[in-house]
């Protein structure tokens, strides 16, 4: 126990030191969500090569990112789930989406091609509360008349660690399955009624691979990097779709940005021919009343540069850029940042 505690203290200390130490005059510091960390870092490297400030991003988790920006120990915080409007107000923060990610569902059903399996959100919800327990359940076979599904138990896998991916996935299930909403609900970590938890995307993927009859959810970027096959889900129009980048874009374009408070537009279960139903943005938080406005401005410059030049990197790392119209909305939000009456955007 003592060793454990010492270990966690050391980790916490190390994390603090890491965040504070490299805060040199011109470096941008950020902390938060692990999901967008690879792309933020890659964009940061490219931006520095192009003559911009250097970025130091610490992937400590969304919760830590929010805490750090509230304490103003970093220049920006990053969170997978949007922060509540009252909290943004109280802590004087501006929130905007930076990049889009999707969650896909992977399966291991012996003798069946996983990409051919079709599920509705409703059925997926019943699987994840333990109501549907076998792969040859009538509700599943009805959706897949052409497949020969075996009579083996379904073993749902989920993220053991508190995670933004879980938040997106459970928000989706709660929005399409009343049963799931009632029994489990949405959050970074929830009370799963059945199945097993594994650490990280890699853990969930390995659990599904190891267990016959396994089903699990991972970030699209992770599935794509590792060549994993994902099943088809019904979207808002009731069409069964395979997860593809155009499908994610179609979902993002349809989100109701006009009425989205603090730019937290939902992109879940959108209609369309290709729209993938589990799509979400990840967010950046900057202070409205920065101690050093120049530093906040350099964050905006970095994001703006990435919006304009980062598409190839995003493609390579399997992230989805914000649609151009949404990028313009984000810039319009930046224009409302005016500490001491001096607008930070457009930057000269």
């Amino acid at each position: 126990m003592l060793i454990q505690l010492a270990r966690s203290l050391v980790t916490a200390l190390a994390a603090t030191v890491l965040v504070i130490a490299p805060a040199l005059a011109q470096d941008i510091t950020g902390a938060g969500a692990t999901f967008p960390a690879p792309i933020y870092s890659s964009w940061g490297e490219d931006y520095a090569k192009a003559g911009g400030s250097r970025l130091n991003y610490q992937a400590l988790g969304s919760g830590a990112g929010v805490t750090q920006i509230i304490n103003r120990t970093v220049d920006f915080g990053a969170s997978d789930s949007p922060v509540a409007p009252e909290r943004l107000e109280k802590e004087q923060l501006l929130q905007f989406p930076a990049v889009i990610g999707a969650v896909v569902v992977i399966v291991n059903v012996p003798g069946v091609d996983g990409t051919k399996i079709k599920l509705t959100g409703d059925v997926l919800g019943e699987i994840y509360v333990g109501r549907i327990r076998l792969w040859d359940d009538p509700k599943i076979t009805a959706l897949n008349p052409a497949l020969k599904l075996p009579k083996i138990p379904i073993s749902p896998a989920y993220r053991a660690d508190s995670s933004g991916t879980t938040s997106i996935f459970t928000k989706y299930l709660s929005s399409v399955s009343p049963l799931f909403k009632e029994r489990t609900g949405a959050g970074n970590s929830v009370a799963w009624r059945t199945g097993l938890g594994a650490p990280g995307n890699a853990g969930v993927a390995a659990a599904v691979k190891n267990i016959k009859g396994g089903i699990g959810y991972v970030e699209f970027a992770y599935a794509a990097e590792n060549g994993m096959q994902a099943l088809q889900l019904a979207n808002g129009s009731g069409k069964f779709v395979t997860p593809t980048v155009p499908g994610f874009l179609q979902a993002a374009e349809q989100a109701d940005w006009d009425n989205a408070k603090n730019m937290a537009a939902t992109m879940l279960n959108m209609p369309g021919d290709n729209s993938w139903p589990i799509v979400s943005a990840t967010y950046i938080l900057v202070p409205r009343n920065p101690k050093d406005p120049a530093r906040t401005q350099s964050v905006l410059k970095y994001v703006d540069w990435s919006f304009r030049n980062g598409a190839a990197t995003a493609d390579r790392l399997h992230y989805i850029m914000l649609p151009a119209a949404v990028q313009d909305r984000v810039r319009a939000q930046w224009a409302t940042l005016a500490p001491a009456g001096k607008p930070l955007w457009p930057a000269n």
Binding site: I3, G63, D161, S189, A191, L196, G197, N210, G214
Partner: protein, 320 residues
């Protein structure tokens, strides 16, 4: 330890350096106690919100739901105790066998290499055990061990209608797999401590037993074990203490399900694994963080109790 010295050696003066030395030793000793008590106090104060909200019911509440903010620690406490005790049941006989082999029947040549091998087992980082457990042991368990256990022990009647011993879908991870990994991890501790205890048995007693024509088994059960019984228990409890707090290896193989288990092979969670999984995202001032610290406090108390019992048993032996 008052300064007035006995008059007989009254010419000797207490040198200031002696006083300084003595005081600094006291301070060094006090640091340990202060650190220990402050950790305990900080864990309790941090977790106070949890105890205030749920009362003592926090300890036996069976629901753990971050969405509705209802937290009960019983699933995690159960998982912790069951895996640790199972691990002990597996590791103790083997550790004892190793220790007895090393001290009594092992050829002189093998003694050192075997001893080193056991110590190396203790030096393997826990994350390595975890990954090995997850990628190698878990598939093996699900493919061979679990189906066999289920079909072999199906006759054991369940406890009520909620606990089925060995009847569970073969998913590889769960309390049994975690217990196996823990058993391997605590084996070197138990073996090494037991070996030292056995070595401390007076040779005269053993020689006496053999002189009476006792076999090795008779000497062991009739003379050695009765002579060092308490210390042997002490060795076991030290292993238990380690099993209770192990984190990284367990996170990989326990299945991380914070609900009451329905079989020995069911996925579960331990206090340490719950804290490790949820700590990074728990924000200061929230109930989420308070329950984690309260869990830490409970684990601290349990581990402390186990160590206290171990100390007590070891000391009793020395005094008798």
């Amino acid at each position: 330890m008052n300064t007035p010295a006995t008059p007989a050696i009254g010419t000797r003066k207490i040198h200031p350096a002696d006083t300084t030395f003595r005081l600094s030793l006291h301070a060094a000793g006090a640091v340990v106690v202060i650190v220990l008590l402050s950790i305990l106090a900080i864990m309790f104060m941090g977790g106070k919100l949890a105890f205030d909200t749920f009362g003592l019911g926090f300890i036996w509440g069976t629901e753990w739901n971050p969405v509705t903010q209802i937290y009960g620690a019983l699933p995690a406490i159960t998982g912790t105790l069951v895996t640790a005790i199972l691990a002990l049941c597996i590791a103790w006989p083997i550790g004892f066998g190793i220790a007895f082999f090393l001290t009594e029947t092992c050829p002189e040549k093998l003694r050192t290499p075997l001893g080193v091998a056991i110590e190396l087992l203790a030096a393997v980082p826990s994350i390595v055990y975890g990954m090995w457990g997850f990628f190698v042991l878990a598939p093996f368990m699900s493919e061979y061990v679990q189906p066999w256990l289920t079909s072999t022990f199906i006759w054991i009647p369940p406890i009520g209608d909620s606990f089925f011993w060995f009847t569970a879908p073969p998913i590889g991870v769960g309390m049994l797999t975690a217990a196996l990994i823990l058993a391997v991890m605590i084996l070197p501790f138990i073996a090494a401590t037991t070996r030292d205890v056995l070595l401390s048995t007076p040779q005269l007693l053993k020689d006496g037993a053999y002189a009476m024509g006792a076999t090795r088994w008779e000497a062991l059960t009739g003379v050695v074990i009765p002579a060092v019984r308490g210390s042997l228990f002490g060795a076991v409890f030290l292993g238990l203490g380690r099993a209770l707090g192990e984190t990284m290896a367990v996170v990989f193989v326990i299945g991380n399900a914070i609900r009451m288990p329905d079989s020995l092979m069911a996925p579960s969670a331990t206090i340490a694994s719950v804290v490790a999984n949820n700590f990074p995202e728990a924000e200061p001032g929230t109930l989420d963080l308070a329950v984690l610290l309260a869990l830490g406090f409970i684990l601290f108390v349990v581990s402390f109790g186990v160590l206290a019992v171990a100390r007590f048993l070891l000391r009793q032996e020395r005094m008798s």
